[in-house]
Symmetry: C2
């Protein structure tokens, strides 16, 4: 099957995002390098607008709307980061955004979405269909529905974070040998794997999931897209997609070398590590790649160049404090 996006799609998205998205820095930590015996480069998308990479894909999609489309607005469903990404991109472009969001989304994400001028329509994850609610809004208002991940412009936009990572390493005359990225629906992973394999084909690319939302691990083993139980819980609210996207899987099924899962406590420890040693606020879903390294589930080769995407930092203070209390010596 031909892939729905290419390195060129990601590069075109990077042009659209230039001067609009935050060019997030590439960070290093002597403590992390010492522990892992490798050279770890962190891409903290927590420092992106709205505290997560999601702004990239949202803006890359919406900036391509014509005037009539902009006037009709945008609708999206999301547990939070996609919501804020759409809301902020819409605000910059003068569009009205309506977000369909689960009742149990972290308060920080709902408030953040509303503060960006979006309307929020709450729904119950177990009894209502967010797809139906969003489709109804779209058909009633003519608003464009922007999916959280299964969309070529969204995927290409998210990939700019991987493109930047490879370019930032390149400016230090380095090439990534291993790259870890969180995987929810697979939009970030698809964009990032496209960019990284396009520019550094020898790099091993790994997707990381929470253990109860390991639909990519299962799909890889089965050879087809598998769906997991949507009633499972995880602190990684941003990675709660239950099945790989159709378009994202067409990319990730081919380009991603391996999928791993991490436990809830490994994630909590990574969040505490980020607080103590990196001085970064990282949300659970954003910390899975770091957790895979710190837990020893993924072992980088000695002195190898490793990229890790920390995909977001939108975490409630209470959840954050609980992780620090659980792992006072991370």
């Amino acid at each position: 099957m031909s892939k729905p996006i290419s390195l060129q799609s990601v590069q075109a998205a990077a042009e659209r995002l230039r001067g609009v998205a935050v060019l997030t820095p590439l960070l290093t930590s002597a403590e992390l390098d010492r522990r892992l015996g490798a050279r770890i480069f962190l891409k903290p998308e927590s420092l992106q607008h709205i505290g997560a990479f999601k702004f990239r894909g949202a803006y890359n999609r919406l900036v391509q709307c014509d005037e009539a489309e902009r006037a009709r607005g945008v609708v999206a469903f999301s547990s939070g980061n996609h919501a804020q990404g759409i809301a902020y991109a819409a605000q910059l472009l003068g569009m009205q955004a309506t977000i369909v969001m689960p009742i149990d989304a972290p308060a920080i994400k709902r408030e953040g979405t509303e503060a960006l001028g979006a309307r929020v329509r709450l729904y119950d994850r177990l009894t209502e269909s967010r797809e139906q609610i969003a489709a109804d809004i779209a058909s009633a208002t003519g608003a464009i529905l922007v999916p959280a991940f299964d969309d070529v412009d969204v995927m290409a936009g998210q990939g700019t974070c991987g493109l930047e990572l490879v370019e930032q390493l390149g400016s230090q005359h380095l090439k990534p040998e291993l790259l870890l990225s969180p995987v929810g629906g697979g939009g970030l992973m698809a964009g990032v794997s496209t960019a990284v394999k396009g520019l550094a084909p020898q790099c091993r690319v790994i997707g990381v999931e929470p253990e109860h939302y390991d639909d990519h691990v299962l799909s890889r083993a089965a050879g087809v897209r598998m769906k997991i139980n949507p009633a499972s819980t995880t602190a990684c609210d941003s990675l709660m997609a239950t099945q790989p996207g159709e378009l994202t899987w067409a990319v990730n099924g081919e380009l991603v070398d391996d999928f791993y899962s991490v436990s809830e406590s490994e994630v909590a420890r990574a969040i505490s590590f980020a607080f103590r040693y990196l001085k970064l606020v990282v949300e659970p879903g954003g910390a899975v790649g770091l957790a895979a390294l710190l837990s020893g589930r993924v072992l980088p080769a000695a002195n190898s160049i490793v990229g890790v995407i920390l995909s977001g930092g939108n975490i409630d203070p209470a959840t954050h404090a609980a992780c620090l209390a659980q792992f006072p010596q991370p």
Copy 2:
């Protein structure tokens, strides 16, 4: 009085630190810019080795030791960040470090110092003289005593953080119009004001202190170095110097345009803001510049270019959680 350091001292320090210190990024926040109506550029020295700018000065001092001096080791007294800066610089240079540290220093700082291979000698701030203890160790062992701020190499090293800030703005074709930096003993302030006034003479440079440790505010008003009550308390443990340094004041008394102080609750709110909107872990002493802006004590001109040094991120989880709880909507 001629000034003890120059722009050239800071530039020479930058050469020594190149590839050794972290080139910390310059970060922006749409939320911060919106609130202040200005273009705010944050220099997060929390992302520096040991979580604070102090590594810069320590390394700049110790790397200039000859072999015989290195063999005798180094001694320093510090509430924590200078301790860790000295400990890490000594470790890189193969020197034994001994740190004289108050019993009430945050646990995270004492543990961090010991983890870097330093010996720690605890003392009571109210009944013992850290200067005497350190001098005794130096005379018994021949170790070099490195002051936390009143030393030309330490001051020049800290200034590299300001030099980088101006250069990073310059690479975006911008010049700082206003710069805020925390002030404890004045070492960072002296290096930074030297660099900034040297490269951007029109920039207004402001030092910020905790309200009960406002010895620079008082000294500016009096025209001479004033000492405040050492029994005062503040959460800003890294800014608890009771009097401007002699050498640092020779610089800061002339180059710093204004000194301001901020309240403890303004600092706590800035820490909560950094968590929620910047996704950065900032310690109390590191947050005073941000606090001066968020509280409205310092008002930048509309659309002006403002640099803010976030000088460190070494904060205990309990203190951090308390700030977030005190200001849930910062």
